[in-house]
Symmetry: C2
Amino acid sequence: MSLQTFSIGELAKSFGITPRSIRFYEEQHLLVPERKGQTRVYYGKDKVRLKLILRGKRLGFSLAEISTLFELYDTNPNSAAQLETMLQLTKTKRAVLEQQFNDIQMLMNELDDVESRCEEELNDIKRGVA
Amino acid sequence: MSLQTFSIGELAKSFGITPRSIRFYEEQHLLVPERKGQTRVYYGKDKVRLKLILRGKRLGFSLAEISTLFELYDTNPNSAAQLETMLQLTKTKRAVLEQQFNDIQMLMNELDDVESRCEEELNDIKRGVA
DNA sequence: AGTCAAGTTAACGTAAACGTAAGCTTGGCT
DNA sequence: AGCCAAGCTTACGTTTACGTTAACTTGACT
């Protein structure tokens, strides 16, 4: 079972981003692909990393934040200090996420309202009521 | 019942942002306060606007997007074209929000895991098991 | 042998969202 | 009268996350 590898182009296309972005993430030490000569070679684990990066971005994390999260996750959390730091970080993030959660629900409700009003009016127009 | 007014400083402090930000939002036409002389005067409606702006930001909207959302909301939606545009926009946004929603839930679960593992280890350490 | 797509580095450009002086005005104390 | 905090405008600086050439290499076809 030889491990499946990917080129930077394949990876970019499969995630809907540009090679430039992937190289930039590497510059920020979020990805550390192997090299065959000077060409980058990616494995499944890199895909996972990239998926996490993009999810983090969608949630409004900066690349720097994602980086520190990776570090905390990578360095096996053995020292008590590390663990405390980690707990503190997760607590903060959880608060932000819960805030976003609420924001999203409010907004969804408002969108529901707007949408149904729009559709009503459209129907009115179509029936020549306007 | 005279309407309550606010200075830019008061507004800034009550929202935990800087006056600079508020002036910037005005530059982007997100706020249009009245003036007493050359000094800005804000009312309750401006507070509402500002609250919406900040909520939008927390959700990852750009100021430009928030601006167009305001415009769509302000211009009473009477033309069919406007309504279609609005529906399209809300549909897109809803998709993004649902994506974020899922992302957040996944992340929360992972945080749960990490957190409980951390706490376990901490207890181990405290009991001298490590 | 030629070329062509896809890779590489290096370096400069850009948009968004403010931060940060600099220099001016002003209403309110004391 | 003098001062000070708070407001104002103008303008340049800054960070983040890439976009965009430019100029070069390289393996794969034909």
